[in-house]
Symmetry: C2
Subunit: 204 residues, 2 copies
């Protein structure tokens, strides 16, 4: 299935600025993208990475540069034909099993909720759908589907729901990650420490 | 299956103090417990709520008062015989389907990870296991199982992973909840608002 993975190569993971330098953010974003591509590898998804700027790394999949905002970009992709999948690039806990469950879920539109009211993944099977990734996007995507009489399926996956935007999200990668992103954090000196009785990803 | 649901009736949901009064926290905790009990209703789980103090509400399931800390309490329950399930009381997004997936997962111990390195649910099928809910409990539970040569299964569920401890967690309830806890928040005046471009659960 045709699959789009949007990637911000311009100012990646800006909300991690309190804990990572710009160079580190770029390296970590690349590591997360690598984990996503590996999770896809054994599935039927045929990914194209759509990046806001040319990449410094070579990827094992097609890359297209498109610096438009996410909504018009994805909506054009949907108009080009369905089914099509959209997957975020910052899902370092993603597994082939979670992707298969996404693909096995019925619905004109299948949504993978992200923590914080986001939408981390979708399968669009009807061209009448369009996206709106701003604000509480999972709610808005349900509403768009409802207005257009499209059925909605939802996949219930912790791994798919875990996108990494903020320093607090790094703990999930250290605890549940097993691949590039987790290794990158460890090699950068992050570890699980208990602060005020609660676990956190800290580097001293 | 014998199932324990530990419940803090003494100072429930203390980390919600910045946004809820003590009376509100008690009411909201009861609403979440009600959602958990309803999700269980159509499954094979036979729950007992183990509460730190007598409850003011009447529940449709057995209630036992035990004010010991969580670890000795659960470890005694495991020693009394397996299989046994342990389920947190603050999982308002729980569904029968998520519980069935927990029960269908193989392993001497099956863990349901919670956001923030916690353990929100477990099925223990071997009495050699014991719990340690402090710190990064999901990591510690894996390690305890490893040390005792017990196999570990993990259920990948966003709904099971969503425990409600902090004000930031309330957004998940408003976005994905459909029952008591979500209704309680709405009737208390909480709604989804966009702050600095990001959704949040706010009451004015």
């Amino acid at each position: 299935m045709r699959t789009i993975i949007p990637f911000d190569a311009t100012n990646p993971k800006s909300r991690l600025s309190p804990v990572l330098s710009p160079v580190e953010r770029a390296a970590f974003a690349n590591a997360m993208l690598g984990d996503v591509l590996e999770a896809i590898e054994t599935t039927v998804l045929e990914p194209t990475v759509v990046t806001t700027a040319p990449l410094e790394v070579t990827l094992p999949v097609p890359v297209r540069v498109d610096d438009r905002p996410l909504d018009p970009l994805v909506n054009d992709v949907i108009e080009e034909g369905t089914p099509v999948a959209v997957l975020m690039a910052d899902l370092p806990l993603l597994t082939p099993d979670a992707i298969r469950r996404l693909l096995d879920t019925e619905g004109d539109v299948v949504l993978g909720p992200g923590r914080g009211a986001g939408t981390n993944a979708m399968v669009v099977r009807d061209e009448a759908f369009s996206v709106d990734f701003h604000g509480a996007s999972i709610r808005d995507h349900r509403e768009i589907a409802r207005q257009r009489d499209l059925s909605v399926g939802t996949v219930d996956s912790f791994r798919l729901s875990t996108d990494v935007d903020e320093p607090g999200d790094l703990l999930e990668v250290l605890v549940h990650g097993e691949d590039r992103a987790a290794s990158w954090l460890e090699s950068a000196g992050f570890e699980i420490q208990i602060e005020d009785g609660r676990p956190a990803a800290i580097r001293d």
